[in-house]
């Protein structure tokens, strides 16, 4: 399970190193930790103690967040909560709009997902298309008793009837802004950055310029080509 988290994200790291001054940090490390702690408590409350809960992080940063949430749940309740990773690339609805992409790892905990309460974990909730893909992927992996959704940031602009059960921060944004979540395990620091619209040359390949699907992809997997 360790290698699921340590997948290197070359391009994302490179961009972070640039330190674009136009990007504004809306959450810093301690804020992220507080938000996750609150989500952990809410999960325990809503699931009456967190029994039968399985955390499934959506590649890439969702996996890091799922691992952190599992740690927090253990700290709070002393309860070991199984967690795993889910790669939704093969289920995306925008596959044909970009060149074929490398796959991430799907790794379920030994307990599986059948008859469990699965909490999907992702960094940013935007169009909702990634979550739709995740629900389809989950459907092929088993039959959970219930599926819930936890996200660090909800930036609005949903294109599908999907809503999160646990939200770290509601962040009103314009369609053209970018939201990037940095996590120490993936990007060497913790922060949520709000930036202006992506420069055309950065978004040019793969047609990221078209607002909806392209932006959703770029958000969901920070390394999106």
């Amino acid at each position: 399970m360790v290698n699921a988290v340590s997948r290197p994200d070359g391009p994302a790291e490179a961009r972070v190193a640039d330190g674009d001054p136009r990007q504004k940090a809306v959450l810093e490390g301690p804020d992220i930790r507080r938000a996750l702690t609150r989500i952990a408590h809410e999960i325990l409350e809503r699931t009456k103690g967190g029994h039968d809960v399985v955390l499934l992080g959506i590649q890439t940063r969702g996996v890091t967040l799922a691992e952190r949430l599992a740690d927090l749940l253990r700290e709070v309740e002393g309860l070991p909560v199984p967690w795993g990773s889910l790669d939704v690339t093969m289920y995306r609805d925008d596959l044909r709009m970009k060149p074929a992409r490398a796959l991430g790892r799907t790794e379920l905990p030994a307990e599986g997902v059948d008859d469990r309460i699965v909490v999907l974990v992702d960094d940013v909730l935007f169009s909702g298309r990634t979550v739709r893909a995740a629900l389809d992927a989950l459907n092929d992996l088993g039959r959970p008793r219930a599926v819930q959704l936890a996200v660090l940031v909800d930036r609005g602009h949903r294109e599908l009837p999907i809503r999160a059960d646990y939200v770290g921060k509601n962040l009103p944004t314009s369609m053209r802004e970018t939201v990037k979540v940095l996590l120490a395990e993936n990007d060497a620091r913790d922060a949520v950055l709000l930036g202006p619209a992506v420069a055309p040359e950065a978004g040019a390949p793969a047609g990221t310029g078209t607002a909806g699907a392209g932006a959703a992809g770029a958000d969901a997997d920070g390394a999106g080509r």
């Binding site: 289920y91 596959l95 044909r96 060149p99 796959l103 991430g104 790892r105 389809d136 047609g207």
Partner: protein, 313 residues
């Protein structure tokens, strides 16, 4: 831009590693109760087989179906080819049906290359004459990587009928790309004239190479392509170049034994070797589906292929 997989040399090292990594993830699907992904829904893959084949054809068919593509199987027997239809006319027929990918096996070396100039879709070579069989090389590399780890610096020995073997050529090219050291071992009559241009070393003595091999790949003696006497008797070939239990004992402890199939038990490989724990022959078949899924996914799923060689026109 349309791209094809006709030769193992079409793949750069990055391409080859991308296929192997993708195959590794796709191999998980085989272990699930629902062995299907929706990725190629609505795409059409045509299996065009002019030559007999069991494992390659069903392997490609299973791979395409697991990715939800529509599969049209075509075999020369019982088709208009027996009425004298040319490859080009067959290709144009398929073109009219809107094939996104064409998997072709043909007895003539170079047939997939010609086909690539006639159709819109991506062409995948599933074996052409004595030329190449790139997906076999990919599944072999995938099998080696799963058993032994990264291939950089690994010593691979390919033994047998190199002259008629498309598997050998594709393997030598791909393994060289991946950084492995390849040695081919065969009687001089079963080596191609231009073997000195291949990126590998050559030996005529199997016993001296065995202790230095991490992988030993036995090739089938292709009796159906042998219209001249390449060796005196099958028995003599088997004694000098066959892998029996005694020779297997000379291999390093971690070494694996491979064979692309179908095997001639008792000729190039002894039955007890083929069935031993070191043999990966059954694994190779299972890995073939994963490797071919990876190739189809990378060629057909996106707006443009992520691997392979650009069309020449």
């Amino acid at each position: 831009m349309k791209r094809h997989l006709i030769s193992a040399a079409d793949l750069t090292k990055d391409d080859a590693l991308l296929v192997l990594d993708t195959a590794e993830e796709l191999a998980q699907v085989a272990g699930r109760s629902i062995k299907k992904l929706p990725t190629l829904r609505g795409r059409t893959v045509v299996n065009l087989f002019f030559e007999d084949s069991t494992r390659t054809r069903i392997s490609f068919e299973a791979a395409a179906k697991r990715l939800s593509a529509d599969v049209i199987n075509f075999s020369a027997k019982g088709s208009s080819v027996s009425k004298g239809e040319s490859l080009k006319d067959t290709a144009l027929t398929l073109e009219a049906m809107g094939a996104d990918g064409v998997v072709i096996r043909h007895g003539a070396s170079g047939a997939p290359h010609r086909l690539a100039g006639w159709v819109q879709g991506s062409v995948v070579n599933a074996g052409d004459g004595t030329h190449e069989h790139p997906t076999q090389a990919l599944l072999d590399a995938f099998t080696m990587r799963r058993r032994l780890g990264e291939l950089e610096g690994r010593r691979v020995t390919i033994v047998g009928d190199v002259l008629h073997s498309r598997v050998a050529r594709s393997n030598v090219l791909l393994l060289d790309t991946l950084g492995a050291d390849v040695t081919v071992v065969a009687p001089p009559t079963l080596l191609p004239v231009a073997i000195d241009t291949w990126p590998c070393s050559v030996s005529y003595d199997l016993d001296s190479v065995l202790p230095k091999s991490d992988v030993i790949m036995m090739l089938r003696v292709q009796q159906e392509r042998m219209n001249a006497a390449y060796f005196p008797t099958v028995r003599e070939y088997s004694r000098r170049y066959g892998l029996d239990g005694e020779r297997m004992a000379q291999l390093p402890e971690h070494a694996i034994v491979m064979h692309p199939g179908p095997m001639n038990r008792g000729v190039e490989i002894a039955a007890d070797v083929a069935d031993s724990a070191r043999s990966t022959i059954v694994e190779q078949v299972a890995n073939g589906v994963s490797a071919r899924m990876a190739v189809l996914y990378l060629l057909l799923s996106g707006s443009e292929p992520a691997i392979g060689k650009a069309a020449s026109e």
